[in-house]
Subunit: 193 residues, 6 copies
């Protein structure tokens, strides 16, 4: 029988620099950039400046806030045909994975996760959001490399001594494994009373 396997989660590390403005958080951005036809998670490196109407997070928009950093490791994920609750659960898991990988790389890095935010020594390491498009659930996770320009006390991978390319590859692999193992897990149990 011919090979009929399917890529539950396509992943790619985009080599080109992409500055994140918020407009990249749209359906099929992953497809446009990489040709991935399934659910996907991609990583790329670039600046970050999100403000005004591009702010999806109403807490930020209401406060007149903006999101900015000189250089970030960005992750954009897209899962089709799921709702916002599952989308947020997946974002939390993605953020937990980033934390686990950093802690494994640097013992005692003291990274703390509060919901979908990571902090190192009380300073903000990441920004994150999950929302929906008409066809999918989308998420963005930005990990500061150089946090210069951030509106709050922030820290970056550079200062922590972590290689962004290593982290990108490790996260893509771990999140893919996580998604696949969840599908296996929900199929290996009998129901109970």
């Amino acid at each position: 029988m011919k090979d009929t396997r399917y890529d539950l989660l396509g992943t790619a590390l985009v080599e080109e620099r992409i500055d994140y403005t918020g407009l990249e958080l749209r359906s099929h951005f992953i497809r446009e950039r990489t040709g991935i036809e399934t659910d996907g998670l991609i990583a790329f490196i670039g600046g970050c400046r999100v403000e005004g109407d591009a702010l999806v997070d109403l807490e930020d928009a209401e406060a007149g806030d903006f999101i900015a950093a000189e250089r970030m490791l960005h992750f954009i994920g897209e899962h089709f045909a799921i709702g916002p609750r599952e989308g947020n659960l997946r974002l939390r898991l993605l953020v937990a994975i980033v934390r686990e990988l950093i802690e494994k790389d640097i013992t005692g890095a003291g990274i703390e996760r509060r919901g979908d935010d990571l902090f190192a020594q009380g300073r903000k390491l990441t920004v994150a959001i999950s929302t929906v498009s008409p066809v999918s659930s989308l998420m963005h996770l930005g990990v500061n490399i150089d946090p210069a320009g951030a509106p709050v006390a922030a820290v970056g991978l550079e200062e922590l001594g972590i290689d962004p390319a290593w982290l990108a590859r490790a996260v893509l692999e771990r999140y893919g494994t996580e998604c696949r193992s969840i599908e296996i897990a929900l199929r290996k149990v009998r129901g109970v009373d």
Copy 2:
């Protein structure tokens, strides 16, 4: 990056003879027989005798009917975490695929599909049912090879001159392709107003 592909639908042609009694329509039967850990569709050959409490179809049970045939090509499919409506839609597609393959093999076979039943020259070729377990949607499609013992006018693959093993392999491949292409299809469109 290491291979992380996932088998959206595991398929197997079980060589061993299995007589179908209705009790095989249960969650994880596919896993028990083949070790498939994902959604799956398997085929096997064996007798068929379903009666009494083993009848999942209340129309049959109410009428005191039974299902029987000397030898059938059986398909059992299991999709996890989906509901009964999607399960019945998938069964219809599976039955349509069987019809398409027979018609391709034997031009002018005159196979007619009525819902989830196939008829050849007015005689019944198949039995089919879709139901749910606590963890999955399940379906059984039985295609008569030798319909001897059937309670209605019936016909089998033998009389039609169709090789059950060929049909089994073709159906498993086609249904797997169908499932994968549906996943791709729902991810390649933008929404409309």
Copy 3:
């Protein structure tokens, strides 16, 4: 007790010529044209020219493709409050029904279904797409009558000797019967372990 039946699927053959440009694939187009207040499937005859932003299919849009035919039998379907996976399953069934009816009309027509496309002797007979609106799942199936202008090798009902009006009526009736019988089917089974 007064009659309280409900039309699970309203159907109509629109007599007026409507040229399909892609913009017709929107929520409530069926309602606007026919007054159908439930889920619906309508058929009409007209030209076909879909290009640029009207292309819902990103595969086509990415390739700079267009969809065109001199005259097509169009089907537009709308199911409310369902998601894209169920929408695509229903489109596949609709396409399978078209194939079954053509094959019944012309024995040995040699129509092949590949996903949601039909081919006759290797030439393309149909175009099809399923997508979502904010309130519904929508599908378009166009069957060439006269394929002149198509960007690929194509064939039409005219050449096959099939009456479009007959096919339209037969498809509307069969799809309605299919939808109703699925609802009955999912209600007539007991669950299993």
Copy 4:
């Protein structure tokens, strides 16, 4: 085109006396008694005695309570392929309908609805529960006719001067109309931002 209408909600007033013990709250009880093949709501008159393991309501079961009345007007409803939240919303609507009909019949009856319970002058008029079977959502609503034997202060239709047969017919018709009009309502709106 032949008639293809579908009964969104089959209803029946069962003439035969049926004493309710709790075991009637099971999938396909409506089908068994009336042959209704769709979602359904039926009414019948009979005694009521539910205790021990037949108590679906854990509040009652934990308290060692029982449910009893000499004669009740019972309603059993079954909706397939929906979850418990929608099931409970439908039960509330059914109870609201009963209240509306009684109030219309007897101006100033002073019926109060608290969740899925009705009270008249502070005495309990009804018992109600919604639960799920493996294939459906089920609900039972019992309206006291003669509340003798009830473990709490209770009142019945007899004392209120309401004809149970009239109420049964009116509720069946009103609930059917409600279900159909909800389906129409959700299909007649455009989405908003």
Copy 5:
């Protein structure tokens, strides 16, 4: 352990006059006005004039109708991550609650509910609609205070002698209690066969 309770339904009576034009039926309008971060139901008093593109109800839009009243008690509700069927069921319950409270206040008011409309002595007391945004289900219920300008025979709370502020507070409390008790109800039952 610190207090970790969650407001299943935030409610607020907005003191400021807001004239309803239809544009208020949008996602996060409640959040903008009141800061409520959960599902919510708010009430306010103001004029009503909805016409043209602001009409979400296609029945009205098709007929070239408009909705108008000099002064209404408005309710806007938003439930996130639910679909249109549940949204319409909740609207019906909200309307039933309004009716129950008016009837309790004025015995024999003769309020009749037809779907999501209320009538007093055959004149229209309310307008209502449920629709979806990309992130939520939304509903608007307007209860006439002074119906002057309404395009149909209408009646208002003023004429009925009902205090709008009292009704607003009572509805907000009752609907909140209803939502909470539904969540409790679906968690207190065991499943059945």
Copy 6:
């Protein structure tokens, strides 16, 4: 307005020793033990011995395995009206939380998460499973305190120097906060294209 808050997730640390045999993984076990009427997560301490038919995990059951430990900190969680995919996502988050808390307590503990398992220095610290009941999604997470009797190389909180009662309280609080913040997060975003 009276207080109408709702406990999105009831939590409790059960003081009494409960030995886990697998049978505790059933709907309403939390309710029976603690009276919690909402979704819930409870913790207790006791032995662990799961074998034979009590094994919900078919991987274990197939292998003839058993689960055992002298003393564990057990967590049982129940979320109603959700499916198995969301249930597994929530279990992963719960396991990630346990890891985060241990690492915070003991810098450099070297706890590794693989799916829903935790390992310390390559030895197994936890067992975990998520399944469904007819009314809910259920999960069990057992953290070894004293792993004596475990069928694989295992480690416990005792050896790691972690106070089980502290961990229990911290996990209950953190998971509750996580659940609530997810509900807030999905309500604070606008949709995107």
